[in-house]
Every structure is written in structure tokens, then in C-alpha cells.
């Protein structure tokens, strides 16, 4: 990868930040996004997402009033969109922490310009995911029974259940990524505090910055804390999707009960996560002219990660097929036959197309370097990953052990409403984030531009990037 020097003559690698930038310019450039007047399209975008969010609230109200029966779930298929969406969102919520934590430990400096909003995206995705375990309950008003707390019934959670593991894993994950994100934000909040002219904003940012002043002593503890958090988040992020995969792997159902699940889910999560990062990064990059900071180098690297994890996922599919055939277990075999030939065969083939075929385009640089194609491909992957969860949950359940109890599943309008609704929530949060917080870690950018201690890579790009509009810092 980027920084490992190979004995071979180094091929051209686009820089992680366009030349000509200094700590000052990056500071102004990035903070300007927040400090400048709100662009029109922001209102439009936020308006749309917010109205979708309102529709979500409507669906949820109706759900609580009537019960989960308004969904398509039924006797053999007890889980539908609810858990599919849960796993899907949780998966998406992996990229952020992965980028900031693992790539930090691996000293991948290119992470610097994407980790901030990747983390934000993680938080928001986890928020969306976190709602489903509550929404899917038959009696959601009793969700607190899943937490261990002393009560008059003398009852405690049943710690052998993967759902309880989920409760611990997801809540821990949410907390830790929130802390990680906030800690990363502190110096930048200080920056904004010092930049903004608006009194109210000054107080707001100042409040968040906790009086950060960049003292050498502080920086030292800060760096240590950040490093430790990264060290903790790394096993955590892997554990979370492993635990989610346990929801199925611990079950008996053919198509769930597989040892391959943990690694295959984690890979899938990273896959989906990077897809979502790209889906967000590419438009933002264009909208705010951040090509200097999110360069083709970043896009390429993310594409490569996607390709790699995508291949792992495909390997997972292969492994499942092989086990099914090799185990000679008639239930496994039937399950796989049923995927390929049963009522949901079209979903299955669509899944293979989205997750296994289309991403192979990433072998070609042309696609890796073209924002447009990357955007399209990551869309495919997002859909594919959703279908994967659909296949795992629905096709496994709808025809399991006793043929007498076979059934079919079909999402109702309420299922779709809730699903699309969470996307509305996600986007609303994203819009708020890009409006009020620096979407790129300013202080870390300072470290990698010339003048920064670590300095940038002085490889020159073939064609000059467009000039940077610098805005003078607010100094009274």
C-alpha cells in the first residue's frame, strides 16, 4: 500500500493531498465549508431527507399502534425487513471505525481526509441500525428488559442469547465510536471556535472544544488516548459484526448454522461500509470542491479495499456452496438448491450480480479512478449487500426442516416505509453533519501538508489541480 516502499521503481501514485497546501490553507479551506453561508442545495437536500424521516415516524407510530403484524412476517419467516435492515445498517456502520482505527494503526495517512465523515457515517448508520432491534419487538415498550438492571421481578437477561450479545456489542460500539469521533473533533472544534465570527457559534463550538488550546502537554495525552482508542476500536469493530453473525450462526436453521459466518460477515461489513463511504464521498467531494483532499488516490485505495473484501465475500458464497455439497447433509443441500431454484431464485441471482460480478470491474484502473463508475459500482454493492441479508434470513427460514411448515415472505408497504424512512434519517443526519462540523479532520490534515511535521509526499501530479481559494483566518 501507499507508504511501503518497494524495491521496484515506484509507479505514479497520486498524492494524498494536492500540492501547494499549507496548514493555513487547509484550515481555511475546510473550515470555510462550515463557516460559509449555507448553499441553496443544502436546504433542498435536507428538506427531502427530513420529509422522508417524517414518513418514517409515521410508519413507526402505526407500527406501535397495530403491532408487527402490519409487516409481511409470518409463521416460518419470523424476521423480515426488520432484521435485514438491522444487519445492513450495522454492516455499513463498520467502515468509519475501520478507516479511522485500523488504518491509523497501519499508519495509512491517506485515511486522514476521509476518516472524519466516515466516522460520522458510522455513527448515523449505527443509529439507524440500533432502532430495529427495538422496532422489531412484538412489545417494543418492554425493550428495556433486554438490559441487565435490578427489577421487582427478580429477572435478568438470558446471557446465552445472541440477541443479548447484540445489545452489549451494538451499544458498546455506538458508545466507543461516538467517543472516538468526538475526541477527534475536539481540536477542530477549537479551530472553528477561533474562526467563526458568529457569537452564538463561538459559544457552541467553544463548549464542544472544552477549552482546547493545543498545549504540547495536552497534545501528548491526546495522541496517547487517540491511539489507545484506535487499539480498542479495532477488535471491537471486528467483534460487532461477528456477534451479529452469531444471531444466525448460533441458530439451527440450514443457511444460518455455518462456521464461515463471522469472517464472512465482517468482510461483508467492510465491503458495504466502503461502498457507502464512496457513495457519500464522491458527491461531497464534487459539491465542496474537495478534490484537493479527497484525491483519486483515496478513491483508488477505497476501491481496492472494496475489491479485496468483495472477493472475501464471494469466497464466503463459494464456501457455503462447497460445504453444502461436501457435508452431504440433505438439509444443507436442499437449502442451497432452494436458493438457486426456489421462489427466491431471482433475488439470489441479483445478489450474485451485484456482489460478485459487477465489482470485478474494479480490477481495471479506468473504473477505479472514475468517480462516476465508482459511485455506480458502490450503489450496486449496497443493493447487493441488502439482498445478501435478505437471502440469508428469508430463504433460509421460508423452507426449513419440516416441509409442512414452509411458507413465503413478502414485504408490505409498511416494511418499505420503515426501510426507506431510516435512509431519510441517515441522510438528514449527514446533512446536519456536513453543515455544522468539519467533514475532514483539519488538525490531522495540517500534519500531512508541507510545513506539517510529517510533510506530504512530493510526487507531482501529471496535470495541475485547480487553484485553491484561500480565505483569511478571522483575526480581530
Amino acid at each position: 500500500m501507499a507508504t511501503i516502499d518497494s524495491p521496484l521503481p515506484k509507479p505514479y501514485k497520486p498524492p494524498v493531498v494536492a500540492p501547494g497546501h499549507t496548514p493555513g490553507t487547509v484550515t481555511d479551506k475546510i473550515s470555510s465549508v462550515v463557516l460559509r453561508r449555507t448553499p441553496k442545495w443544502w436546504y433542498v437536500g435536507f428538506g427531502i431527507s427530513f420529509s422522508i424521516l417524517m414518513m418514517f415516524l409515521f410508519c413507526v407510530t402505526y407500527l406501535f399502534a397495530k403491532g408487527v403484524g402490519i409487516w409481511g412476517i409470518n409463521q416460518p419467516v419470523g424476521w423480515g425487513f426488520d432484521i435485514i435492515n438491522f444487519v445492513w445498517w450495522i454492516g455499513i456502520g463498520h467502515a468509519g471505525t475501520l478507516i479511522s482505527a485500523i488504518l491509523l494503526l497501519l499508519r495509512q495517512e491517506w485515511r486522514t481526509s476521509i476518516n472524519r465523515f466516515a466516522e460520522a457515517m458510522t455513527l448515523f448508520a449505527v443509529a439507524c441500525a440500533g432502532m430495529y432491534p427495538v422496532l422489531h419487538l412484538g412489545r417494543p415498550w418492554l425493550a428495556y428488559w433486554l438490559f441487565p438492571y435490578p427489577n421487582t421481578m427478580g429477572m435478568w437477561p438470558q446471557f446465552r442469547s445472541p440477541l443479548i450479545w447484540d445489545v452489549f456489542a451494538v451499544s458498546t460500539y455506538a458508545t466507543v465510536s461516538a467517543l472516538f469521533w468526538y475526541v477527534g473533533l475536539i481540536p477542530d472544534l477549537a479551530t472553528l471556535r477561533d474562526r467563526t465570527r458568529n457569537r452564538a457559534m463561538k459559544i457552541a463550538y467553544g463548549f464542544g472544544a472544552m477549552g482546547w488550546r493545543g498545549s504540547a502537554a495536552h497534545w501528548h495525552n491526546y495522541e496517547t488516548a487517540y491511539l489507545l482508542l484506535a487499539g480498542l476500536a479495532t477488535p471491537l469493530v471486528i467483534s460487532v459484526h461477528t456477534v451479529v453473525s452469531f444471531d444466525f450462526a448460533v441458530g439451527q436453521v440450514p443457511g444460518w448454522h455455518a462456521t464461515i459466518f463471522p469472517p464472512y460477515f465482517v468482510a461483508g461489513a467492510i465491503y458495504a461500509g466502503f461502498a457507502m463511504v464512496l457513495t457519500l464521498a464522491i458527491p461531497l467531494r464534487a459539491a465542496f470542491h474537495l478534490e484537493d483532499f479527497i484525491t483519486t488516490r483515496h478513491l483508488q485505495n477505497m476501491a481496492k479495499v472494496m475489491l479485496a473484501t468483495g472477493l472475501i465475500v464471494v469466497y464466503g458464497y463459494m464456501a457455503e456452496l462447497f460445504f453444502g455439497w461436501y457435508s452431504g447433509n440433505i438439509y444443507e443441500r436442499f437449502m442451497l438448491m432452494n436458493r438457486a431454484t426456489g421462489p427466491y431464485r431471482f433475488h439470489w441471482f441479483a445478489l450474485l450480480l451485484c456482489n460478485a460480478v459487477v465489482p470485478q470491474l474494479l480490477w481495471l484502473r479506468r473504473f477505479r479512478t472514475s468517480p462516476f463508475w465508482l459511485f455506480v459500482i458502490s450503489m450496486f454493492v449496497s443493493v447487493g449487500m441488502w439482498l445478501e441479508r435478505f437471502i440469508i434470513i428469508v430463504t433460509s427460514l421460508h423452507r426449513d426442516f419440516l416441509p409442512s411448515s414452509w411458507g413465503l415472505y413478502k414485504g408490505t408497504i409498511w416494511d418499505w416505509g420503515t426501510f426507506i424512512g431510516t435512509i431519510g434519517l441517515f441522510l438528514s443526519l449527514i446533512f446536519l453533519f456536513i453543515r455544522f462540523l468539519p467533514m475532514i479532520s483539519i488538525f490531522e490534515m495540517r500534519t500531512i501538508v508541507p510545513g506539517g511535521t510529517e510533510g506530504g509526499e512530493y510526487t507531482t501530479a501529471p496535470e495541475q489541480e485547480p487553484g485553491i481559494s484561500t480565505e483569511q483566518g478571522a483575526v480581530p
Binding site: D28, V183, Y222
Partner: protein
């Protein structure tokens, strides 16, 4: 010791090397109460100003251990002692199943102690600080580098120290009110 009239003297530098250079000179001069302010973490500065070890790792380690014990303890107590129930024919103490929550608790506690430990060691939150009284200090979060000598430093002398700092060719030297 009575409160000195000002908080200290602050020199502003244009780039980090000058700052580091200056920091060493100040310490050679025998000053002990000094601090540097930079827009981004710089190891060398920490060295120069003499802040290069942290108790944080120990705090985090302790946090993690507490979390692990709490997690496993809770599960063991609830499942074996408080209300022993036959769940699917599994033994009361199904330790393999208890590993996951234990792990998560470990991480949670460790992470919390890392963050709050950092706050504690840095004395945050501290919204008011004298250095903010220096108008140009706003640039410390952009691309300027500041060196501060605390007035409580035994060698501190309002005029002398000011002159001494001026010799380190800073862009300016400012007095920092309380």
C-alpha cells in the same frame, strides 16, 4: 506564594522548527514552567517542553480489567446464583456463551477510561484560560506556534524574560493577563 500580576509571557513563532529551537533555548536558560501551543501534535515540541510521558495507558489497563470482571461477574451471578434456570438443557455456568458480553464490557470500560482519563490528565474541560486573552492566540488553531513562560516560574521577571524571549526572534511577544 502571592499571585503574580500577569499570567505569563507568550512568544509567537512562524513555524514549528523556530518554536522547537526556542523551547530548547528557554529550558537551557533554566525556565521550568513553560508550555508550547501548536495547531497540531508535534512530538519534538513535547520533548522540547518536557512533556513526554503519560499515565493514560495504566488508567486504560485498569479500566479494561474492571470491565472484564464486572461483565463476567454479572453474568455468573445472574445465571448461576440469583436465578438458576435450565435454559435449553445448557449448564447454568455456560462460560463459552458468557465470553462475548465480557469482551464487550472490557472494551467499553477501557474506552471510557481512555477518554475521561485524557480529560482528567489535561484538566479539561477548561473553557476559560488566560492564554485566550492574547488576541493572536486564535491563530494557534491555524498555523502559528506559541511558547509561554509562566509568571510563577522562579526565574520569571516581567522585563527580563520579555527581552529574553524577544531574542528568540519570534514574530511577537505578548503579555498574558490572568
Amino acid at each position: 506564594m502571592k499571585r503574580p500580576p500577569i499570567y505569563g509571557l507568550m512568544a509567537e513563532f512562524h513555524d514549528s522548527d523556530e518554536l522547537i529551537e526556542a523551547a530548547y533555548r528557554v529550558r537551557e536558560a533554566g525556565y521550568t514552567r513553560l508550555d508550547a501551543y501548536t495547531p497540531y501534535p508535534i512530538e519534538a515540541v513535547a520533548e522540547a517542553t518536557g512533556h513526554h510521558h503519560s499515565k493514560l495507558p495504566l488508567i486504560v489497563l485498569i479500566g479494561g480489567i474492571v470491565g472484564a470482571l464486572a461483565g463476567y461477574g454479572l453474568q455468573y451471578w445472574a445465571a448461576v446464583i440469583e436465578y438458576p434456570l435450565n435454559v435449553g438443557g445448557r449448564p447454568l455456568h455456560s462460560w463459552p456463551a458468557f465470553i462475548v458480553p465480557t469482551f464487550e464490557m472490557t472494551i467499553l470500560f477501557a474506552a471510557l477510561s481512555a477518554v475521561f482519563g485524557m480529560f482528567f490528565l489535561n484538566g479539561l474541560p477548561q473553557p476559560y484560560h488566560p492564554v485566550f486573552n492574547v488576541p493572536r492566540f486564535a491563530l494557534a488553531s491555524r498555523d502559528r506556534y506559541f511558547l509561554l513562560i509562566d509568571a510563577r516560574d522562579p526565574l520569571f521577571d516581567r522585563e527580563g524574560t520579555r527581552r529574553f524571549l524577544a531574542d528568540l526572534n519570534p514574530t511577537e511577544v505578548n503579555e498574558v493577563e490572568h
